[in-house]
């Protein structure tokens, strides 16, 4: 658990460095996803293959027309055979192109997404922390959905190139048959796109509304079922069922509305496509009657008119798709650019190096006390306000800013230290510390054997004894395997295993019963060698401290717990006796 090993790598293609990388932009995120690690080569091969596939698709109706013109109409066996051979060739090429394009592009997509995801995780776990608070939910969405959307740009690129090629092929084939017919198809199809784009707006609104309503119903169900102990405890089953039914009906109405809009939309699209087919069939039929084009060419033209609408639609949605993906790329870039939680002051205030592990020079508004903590000392700190207590602990953990010259850790000015350097001198355990998904042993320490004294002091032995696999039991990070009291004892044991000379513990026994708490207090009292700061209001823990500093009526007073308890009514009130 060496906190100094932040620069070590694990032989992985990424690295959590301490120096911030150059700022990311949505462009650089997209380039990293699509082009880095020689993905550009796969992207080019894949796009060419998809292009070849689209051209082959466009050629199928052309070859059908040729078969009719060269084989069926003249009743020529050799002409027919050659045409079928050509068709076979087109299908072989079509199949191979698809296979190549599909695998290459998806490789770029998946690998690119993976690399962005690791970038996000690396940023989130960098030793200097993240400024501002981001929920785990939001970060997870960025790391899974947004990275996926950005990397799917590989598909957008490949399909755009292929669609362009397909439209060009159709244009050449159509113009080859008849300039007039070519112009009809090439003008009518984009016009249809514009129309459909206009028609699709209410559709988007309704499908958004549908998704919202479905999410609301799903969210309600999730919430009530996850809290089923509470729901059952207060007998709210019928009431929650009634509330769920209400949102479920709303979701039903929204879903039906959305399908109606979608059906109407595709109905309009089908009608337009039928109209185009009718016009092309009419004009081509008249031309064929005139002898201007052959029968097979008539078939080709009708087939192409139907086919070309697909790639045109893809080209038409390019702008919308790209905008969506750029928005995701920007969210990824913003996350990567999040400034570190704390920027160390450029210059430290020189001072007495001394032997104190921690020396606190007090606070202008008395928000925290004056302290000097040496090795082997236990100091209790009792705050009048729990918010101030949390702020003090945050400051010591280098999670909150501090002016230079106020606090020294291991003789160095805290304001000039990075969070990683701070952690070399002090281990701070917050109230919101997490049990990690690991075995009990790995939760406690990763290096070296377990310390029986620490296990005993944290009263964690009977927690371990109650687990089927004991120390090798794998704990669930969300803490479902352990009760609140058990979890807190594991966390305390982990803190006691930390190698730093100074330990700061914030309310380490709040979830323990009185019996276990007094056991823990006695155990901590026997840990001789290290410095411990206990930020707590627990009388049991405070009585195990050499000295206690308490905020009494705005003033900080230092004495032993017994002295404070006997002399101060406000102290007695603070510690809850």
């Amino acid at each position: 658990m060496a906190s100094g090993s932040v620069e070590a790598t694990l032989g992985k293609p990424y690295r959590i460095g301490v120096s911030p990388p150059p700022p990311s932009t949505s462009g650089s995120v997209i380039r990293r996803s699509l082009l880095a690690a020689r993905r550009h080569r796969l992207l080019v091969i894949g796009s060419l293959a998809l292009t070849s596939h689209q051209i082959c698709e466009a050629l199928v109706p052309v070859v059908i027309g040729m078969t009719i013109d060269n084989g069926i109409v003249p009743k020529s066996p050799s002409g027919f055979a050659w045409s079928i051979a050509l068709l076979a060739g087109v299908f072989v090429l079509l199949s191979l192109s698809w296979r190549t394009g599909y695998t290459c592009i998806n490789r770029v997509n998946l690998d690119g997404g993976h690399e962005l995801r690791q970038g996000i995780v690396g940023r989130a776990l960098r030793p200097d922390g993240l400024a501002g608070r981001r929920g785990a939910g939001e970060a997870t969405v960025i790391a899974s959905s947004d990275t996926g959307r950005v990397s799917a740009l590989a598909w957008l690129v490949g399909r755009q190139i292929a669609s362009l090629a397909a439209v060009a092929t159709c244009t050449i084939a159509l113009m080859n048959v008849s300039v007039v017919l070519g112009l009809i198809v090439l003008v009518a199809s984009p016009a249809a796109l514009v129309l459909m784009h206009f028609v699709s707006r209410p559709l988007e609104r309704r499908s958004d509304a549908e998704q919202e309503a479905a999410a609301a119903a799903g969210g309600l169900a999730t919430e009530f079922v996850s809290g089923i102990r509470v729901v059952k405890g207060i007998g709210a089953e019928a009431e929650t069922a009634r509330r769920y039914a209400t949102t479920s009906r709303e979701s039903l109405r929204a879903a039906v509305r959305a399908v109606r809009a979608k059906a109407a939309y595709s109905g309009i699209g089908t009608t337009f496509s039928a109209a185009l087919t009718a016009v092309v069939a009419l004009v081509a039929g008249l031309f064929a009657l005139d002898g201007q084009i052959a029968i097979g060419q008539l078939v080709t033209v009708v087939g192409l008119a139907q086919f070309v609408q697909g790639p045109m639609t893809i080209l038409g949605f390019f702008g919308v798709d790209l905008a969506q993906k750029r928005a995701s790329a920007k969210r990824v870039a913003d996350f990567l650019n999040t400034p570190p939680e704390i920027i160390p002051a450029a210059e430290s205030v020189p001072g007495d190096e001394g032997t104190a592990l921690l020396s606190v020079a007090g606070h202008p508004e008395s928000a925290w006390p004056v302290l000097d903590v040496e090795g082997g000392t236990r100091v209790g700190v009792v705050f009048a306000d729990q918010g101030d207590a949390a702020a003090f602990v945050d400051t010591l953990a280098r999670r909150a800013p501090i002016e230079p010259g106020r606090i020294r850790v291991g003789g160095k000015d805290l304001a000039a230290l990075t969070p990683a350097e701070t952690r070399a001198g002090v281990h701070t355990q917050h109230r919101d510390a997490h049990v990690l998904t690991d075995t009990v042993r790995d939760n406690l320490t990763l290096d070296g054997p377990l310390d029986p004294k620490a296990l005993h002091a944290a009263a964690v032995e009977d927690v371990v004894a109650a687990l089927p696999a004991g120390l090798d039991e794998r704990l669930d990070g969300s803490g479902r395997t352990l009760s609140g009291g058990q979890r807190q004892r594991v966390l305390l044991a982990r803190a006691l295993h930390s190698p730093q000379p100074l330990l700061v513990l914030h309310d380490p026994t709040s979830a323990l019963d009185a019996v276990t708490e007094s056991h823990v207090a006695a155990g901590i009292g026997e840990l001789g060698e290290r410095g411990i700061v206990l930020v707590t209001t627990s009388p049991a823990l405070l009585s195990a401290c050499h000295t206690v500093v308490a905020q009494l009526g705005g003033e900080w007073t230092a004495a032993t717990h017994a002295e404070l308890f006997d002399t101060s009514a406000s102290y007695r009130e603070l510690v809850g006796a």
Partner: protein, 593 residues
């Protein structure tokens, strides 16, 4: 863990059929609409055939114009009917789905708590959210297109047969290849997709843990270790997805082969029929175009089959929940009657056989009496609370309220209310949160309950009691959330309150406030209070002390302190800490102030 039941394929099919045919004329009408739409869709290639034969025979211009007009008319008609058919189907299916999910939700709540704990809350949550979503997406997104495509394929093949039966035979040559390809694909893709989903679930789990525990991970210097874990999980998902990609590419190659075989066969038959004078060029053209038109709908059917299978899996998990109908009692809210008399008679219980957590416990709580339970972690006090609240049935012995046995899962209906250590605020307003326990309560009652527990902050919220709290509203402190939990008790006025809430998490002052709130919330009810602080015990009418699953002492606080037993020693230890007589030695700390 033993997850909730999953319905087998036969049951799923039978139940789905029953759900959809509650009014049989509705699905019949929908099917008729789809047939009509597909028939109209067939007109276009047939009419193109007419144009071709008109050209071939140098026929009148009028026929070509009429045929083109027919293409337009039939296309428009097909579009309108398809739209109607899809809407009607959506209404039918979405309605059935809504009924299903509401039944599933209601059934879920009736499943005994112990069984839910065994299955894992995650499994139960995924039934009412993930599975419902999967089925909903299939019903709303895939099924309308799938159904249209199936009808189009069926009628196109029929149309080929109408032109000449030999075309239908030729087209049918593609079918065995498609069926074999699909069966091959589904056999391999099913397990592979499941693996992909499991790997992606694992990746998400690792991501959530990395972000959720980021500050802990970083403070322990374990950043690289956790980044490497996400890397492993993400890599695995990537490689499995690549496997699925390659499988998909091979599948589509086989579909292409089928297309080629079918198209060539139709062209060969066309060549043969025209050259032997059995059919005209128009017919051969129409047949080739009809088959060419099949490429897209067949692709849709093959591609979406997979999605529908996934939805089928979700459906069988939903019907699995409905198989849970063993509880004949209706759940109802509300109870009548005064504070109850609780008798626990010789109750024993163990989670793991051979390791009793409760050992022949006997306890009586008189109406209106407040009893506090004291004991170390693992002494069985929370388990006792769980048994009284009907969460677990006792292995031996009985739990009675006013002489009536407390049925597991029905404790709330008989007036026993449990407040657990798990404090939860649900999305919704402050009033919504309270009315969960008493849906009929008036605004005045709600205000009164909040005042009783000292939640004066509620009145100062921007929209008062209608202010939204929880995930999308004002976020509450731990103390405020606990006050809401207690206010629910105050509002509902139970006959017996079982309080297992840990009030110590929030600091000494807040704990004292919550102790007062607890007393107010209980009011005149009988109460069992799991004491996490000895002050709670001192304030109760009677204290029982538990050790290793047994009650070792019982009596009023003062009596027990006098008696000099376990409780007296605990109290002595606690007060000595409070007075600071437990002095430690050693160390040379200097403190200045």
């Amino acid at each position: 863990m033993s997850i909730l039941p999953i319905a087998d394929t036969r049951t799923t099919r039978r139940e789905t059929w029953r759900l959809l045919t509650r009014r049989p004329w509705v699905p019949a009408g929908v099917a008729a609409l789809f047939v009509a739409a597909a028939v109209c869709g067939l007109a276009a290639p047939a009419l193109l055939g007419v144009i071709v034969s008109t050209v071939d025979s140098n026929g009148p211009v009028g026929t070509i114009v009429a045929a083109a007009a027919g293409i337009l008319g039939a296309g428009a008609l097909a579009a309108v009917i398809t739209a109607y058919a899809q809407s009607a189907m959506a209404k039918l299916l979405q309605g059935a789905l809504a009924d299903l999910r509401e039944q599933v939700y209601a059934t879920t709540l009736r499943i005994p708590q112990a069984e839910i704990e065994r299955a894992g809350v995650g499994d139960v949550v995924s039934r009412v959210s993930g599975d419902v979503e999967a089925v909903g997406e299939a019903v709303g997104g895939v099924l309308p297109n799938f159904t249209s495509a199936v009808f189009t394929v069926a009628l196109t093949v029929a149309g080929l047969g109408v032109l000449d039966w030999r075309f239908a035979v030729a087209a049918a040559l593609a079918a065995p290849i498609q069926v074999l390809a699909l069966r091959w694909f589904l056999k391999l893709s099913g397990p592979l997709y499941r693996k992909v989903r499991i790997a992606e679930g694992e990746r998400t789990g690792q991501l959530v843990e990395a972000f959720d525990s980021a500050s802990t991970v970083v403070s322990l210097g374990r950043g690289e270790r956790h980044a490497a874990r996400v890397d492993v999980a993400s890599r695995e998902a990537v490689e499995l997805s690549m496997g699925a990609t390659k499988l998909g590419a091979r599948f589509w190659n086989r579909v292409n082969t089928a297309e080629f075989v079918g198209l060539t066969s139709v062209l060969v038959v066309g060549y043969w029929l025209t050259s032997s004078g059995l059919a005209g060029i128009g017919v051969a053209t129409a047949a080739a175009l009809l088959f060419f038109r099949l490429f897209d709908p067949i692709g849709t059917v093959l591609a979406e089959f997979d999605e529908l299978q996934k939805a089928g899996a979700g459906l069988s998990r939903l019907f699995g929940v409905l198989q849970h109908r063993e509880d004949p009692h209706a759940i109802h809210n509300g109870w009548t009657g005064s504070p109850g008399r609780l008798s626990v008679e010789d109750v024993s219980f163990s989670y793991v056989p051979g390791r009793p957590v409760l050992d022949a416990v006997t306890l009586t709580i008189e109406p209106g009496e407040r009893v506090a339970v004291v004991g170390a972690s693992g002494s069985g006090k929370s388990t006792l609370a769980a048994l009284i609240a009907g969460i677990h049935p006792p292995d031996a012995g009985r739990v009675l309220l006013d002489g009536e046995p407390v049925e597991p899962g029905l404790a709330a209906a008989s007036g026993i209310m449990l407040v657990t250590q798990e404090v939860r605020t649900f999305t919704g307003s402050v009033a919504d949160n309270l009315r969960l326990a008493a849906p009929e309560a008036s605004a005045a009652d709600v205000e009164e309950a909040l005042r009783a527990v000292g939640a004066t902050w509620a009145a100062e919220l921007s929209e008062g009691l209608d202010t939204r709290v929880g995930s999308d509203g004002v976020s509450l402190t731990g103390e405020q959330a606990q006050q809401l939990a207690l206010a629910r008790v105050a509002l509902a006025g139970p006959r017996l309150a079982v309080l297992d809430e840990a009030t110590a998490e929030t600091g000494a002052r807040a704990a004292r406030r919550l102790d007062r709130a607890t007393a107010e919330a209980i009011g005149g009810a009988s109460a069992l209070i799991i004491a996490h602080r000895l002050t709670q015990a001192a304030a109760a009418d009677r204290v029982i002390v538990m050790e290793a699953g047994r009650i070792v002492e019982s009596g009023a606080h003062a009596e027990l302190v006098e008696a000099g037993g376990h409780y007296a020693r605990l109290w002595e230890a606690w007060t000595s800490h409070a007075r600071g007589t437990a002095v430690t030695s050693g160390g040379t700390g200097t403190v200045t102030s």
